[in-house]
C-alpha cells in the first residue's frame, strides 16, 4: 500500500559562478542530465517537466526538452521571483501527488554573472514636459526619490524593521551573520565564492545599502539545479540503492503574502514565511527543534536574521540572541546555511529553490564530504521571492 508520499530520487546542482562558455539551456541541461543519472532514470521515465529561468525569457522547459529529450509530456514554465525553483519543484510534486504520473523533473537555471544591482523601475526621465505614468501617476521614476526599490535597500529595511521592533540587532550583528556564511562556504566546492572574510573586512567592504555591505549581499552568478521526483508506489519497485538514497519530501508548501497594513510600502517577507513554516511543520509532523540543518533565503545578511524568527528556530523576538548563542554556525544546535548561503554560494535566482534542496539532500544522504552535518536526518529549505512568494520544503532521510 502506497503512503502517497513523494520522494526526491535524483538531484544535482552545477557549480555556481561564472560560466562564460555555457548559456542557460546548457546549464539547465547539465543539471537535468545529472539529476536523471543520479536517480538512475531517463527522460523516457518522466511524466512531467516544470522549469524556470526568471531573467531569461519564456519557454525554458521546451528548450530543455529539445536539448535532452522530447517526449510530449506536459511542460510547465514557471516564474515566481526568487521562489521560481521551489515553485517548479512543487508543480512536479503536485502532479505526482495527484496521481497523474510517477516521475517528474524540476529545473531552475539563471545566468546573472556581471549583472549589476537588481532594482525596480529604472525608467529614464525623458520627455520635454512632465507626463504621468504608472500606478502612482508619477512624473518620473519613484525609485530613489520616494524610498528605494533596490533589493539591498529593501532587505536592509526588512532587517532594520526587526531591529527596531525587538532591539539587539545592529550593523555588527548583521555583518557577523555574513561572516558565518562566508566561513561555511570554504567547505563547499560548488559555491561561487569560497573565501573566508574577517568581520572587519565585511564591515569595511563597499557599503551598498546600510547596513548591507557588498559582502552581505547575495552573489549574482550563473548556475542550474534540477531534481527528479518519484511516487512512493513507484519507488518501492526500484533498487534498494535507489530507495536508500531517496529523500522524502515531508512537506511542500507555497504561500503568498496576506494583506498587512504596511505591505504596500515595504514587502512583508515575514507573515507568509511564518504561515508557510506553520503549515510545513504541521504536515511533516516535525518541529523546528527536530531540524538538523536549515538552508534559508539569506539574499542579504539582514534577511537571514528575520527568518530565524519566521521559521520558528528561536522564540519570537529573540533572533539576535539566538544568533549570538552560536546556534546557527555549522557546529551549533541548528546549523543554518552550511552551503555558504546566497551570500557566498551565490544566487542564480531560479536555480536557488532547488539548489537549497540539493544541499539538504546531500547531508541527509551522508554525501556532503567535508561539510557533512553528521547524522543529519531532517532538514528544511526555504526561499522567498519578493512580491511575495515563499516556498518551504521539509526533507527526511530514508529509513532504509
Amino acid at each position: 500500500m502506497s503512503s502517497g508520499d513523494v520522494w526526491i530520487l535524483g538531484i544535482n546542482m552545477t557549480k555556481f559562478g561564472k560560466h562564460t562558455d555555457k548559456d542557460t539551456v546548457d546549464l539547465a541541461a547539465q543539471a537535468a542530465m545529472a539529476a536523471l543519472a543520479d536517480g538512475g532514470v531517463t527522460m523516457a521515465d518522466m511524466g512531467v517537466l516544470a522549469a524556470g529561468c526568471l531573467m531569461g525569457g519564456g519557454g525554458i522547459a521546451q528548450m530543455i526538452q529539445k536539448q535532452i529529450g522530447q517526449t510530449g509530456i506536459p511542460a510547465y514554465n514557471v516564474s515566481n521571483a526568487c521562489a521560481t525553483g521551489a515553485t517548479a519543484l512543487r508543480v512536479v510534486y503536485m502532479s505526482i501527488k495527484s496521481g497523474e504520473c510517477d516521475f517528474g523533473l524540476a529545473v531552475g537555471v539563471e545566468k546573472l554573472s556581471g549583472v549589476g544591482l537588481l532594482s525596480g523601475g529604472n525608467r529614464k526621465d525623458d520627455g520635454k514636459t512632465w507626463n504621468r505614468f504608472g500606478r502612482y501617476g508619477a512624473v518620473a521614476s519613484t525609485d530613489g526619490r520616494i524610498g528605494t526599490d533596490t533589493m539591498p535597500g529593501v532587505f536592509a529595511q526588512v532587517g532594520m524593521e526587526y531591529a527596531h521592533k525587538y532591539g539587539g540587532a545592529d550593523f555588527k550583528l548583521f555583518a557577523q551573520i555574513s561572516e558565518k556564511n562566508h566561513a561555511h562556504s570554504t567547505l563547499n566546492p560548488l559555491a561561487a565564492y569560497q573565501k573566508r572574510f574577517t568581520l572587519d573586512e565585511i564591515m569595511n567592504d563597499m557599503m551598498i545599502a546600510y547596513p548591507n555591505t557588498r559582502a552581505m549581499c547575495s552573489a549574482n552568478c550563473d548556475g542550474g539545479a534540477a531534481a527528479v521526483l518519484v511516487s512512493d508506489a513507484k519507488l518501492k519497485t526500484l533498487s534498494l540503492e535507489q530507495q536508500r538514497r531517496a529523500v522524502k519530501i515531508s512537506a511542500s508548501v507555497l504561500t503568498s503574502d496576506p494583506y498587512e497594513e504596511a505591505c504596500q510600502v515595504l514587502p512583508d517577507v515575514n507573515t507568509l514565511t511564518r504561515s508557510a513554516a506553520a503549515q510545513a511543520y504541521a504536515k511533516a509532523g516535525i518541529g523546528p527543534e527536530d531540524l538538523d540543518l536549515v538552508e534559508l533565503h539569506d539574499c542579504f545578511a539582514t534577511a537571514e536574521l528575520v527568518h530565524y524568527d519566521n521559521l520558528g528556530l528561536c522564540k519570537p523576538g529573540e533572533a539576535a540572541d539566538f544568533f549570538k548563542s552560536g546556534a546557527t554556525w555549522r557546529d551549533g544546535s541548528t546549523p543554518v546555511n552550511v552551503s555558504g548561503g546566497l551570500e557566498s554560494k551565490g544566487h542564480p535566482i531560479a536555480a536557488t529553490g532547488i539548489a537549497n534542496v540539493w544541499e539538504v539532500c546531500h547531508h541527509l544522504r551522508g554525501e556532503a564530504g567535508d561539510r557533512q552535518i553528521q547524522g543529519a536526518k531532517v532538514g528544511l529549505a526555504h526561499v522567498i521571492g519578493l512580491g511575495s512568494a515563499c516556498g518551504i520544503h521539509i526533507l527526511e532521510k530514508s529509513g532504509l
Binding site: T129, A138, G153, E261
Partner: protein, 147 residues
C-alpha cells in the same frame, strides 16, 4: 487630520511664479502639502494606488483620506548604489504616520548612521525636483527630522 506645515519649498523672489504639480498623484500640495490615500470604506485599509477591490476585505468602495504629516521612522536604509541620476547616499525610510505606513526619503539630515536613527520623529516636507520645458515644476515630498 490637519497639517499646520508651511508650504516649504522655495520660489525665487522676483521670478514669475511658475506652475507647480505634485510628483505623484497621492501628494496634494494645497492647502498645505500632505498625502492622500484611497481608504476602504468598509475596513479602513489605505492604498496609495488604485484598487478594484480592497486587498484586505474585498470591499469595492473607497474614499479619500488625508495622511498625517508627522510620524516616526520605523525602518530605514542608507542607499549608496542607486539608479542613474539619483544622488547618493540617500536615506530611504518607512515612516509610520499615525498608523499609516508611508515610504519616502529623509531630507535635511546627514545620510549616515550617526544622524539617522530608528524611532526618530519626522515630518513631511516638499522640494522642487525640477522644471520641464514649459517651466512647470514637479514638487516631491520627503520627510525631515522634527527638531
Amino acid at each position: 487630520m490637519s497639517s499646520t506645515l508651511p508650504f516649504v519649498h522655495q520660489v525665487p523672489k522676483n521670478a514669475c511664479v511658475s506652475e507647480q504639480i505634485p510628483f505623484v498623484e497621492y501628494l496634494h500640495l494645497a492647502p498645505t502639502p500632505h498625502l492622500v490615500a484611497h481608504q476602504c470604506t468598509s475596513c479602513g485599509a489605505r492604498f496609495f494606488d488604485r484598487r478594484n477591490a480592497c486587498a484586505s476585505c474585498f470591499g469595492t468602495s473607497f474614499a479619500d483620506a488625508d495622511i498625517a504629516t508627522e510620524g516616526f521612522v520605523r525602518s530605514f536604509t542608507i542607499v549608496s548604489f542607486a539608479a542613474p541620476g539619483i544622488p547618493v547616499p540617500f536615506v530611504s525610510a518607512i515612516i509610520e504616520c499615525d498608523g499609516t505606513s508611508v515610504r519616502g526619503n529623509l531630507t535635511n539630515v546627514t545620510a549616515d548612521p550617526e544622524h539617522v536613527s530608528l524611532g526618530m520623529k519626522v515630518r513631511l516636507t516638499t522640494y522642487v525636483v525640477g522644471a520641464d520645458d514649459a517651466g512647470t515644476e514637479a514638487v516631491n515630498f520627503a520627510f525631515e527630522p522634527v527638531s
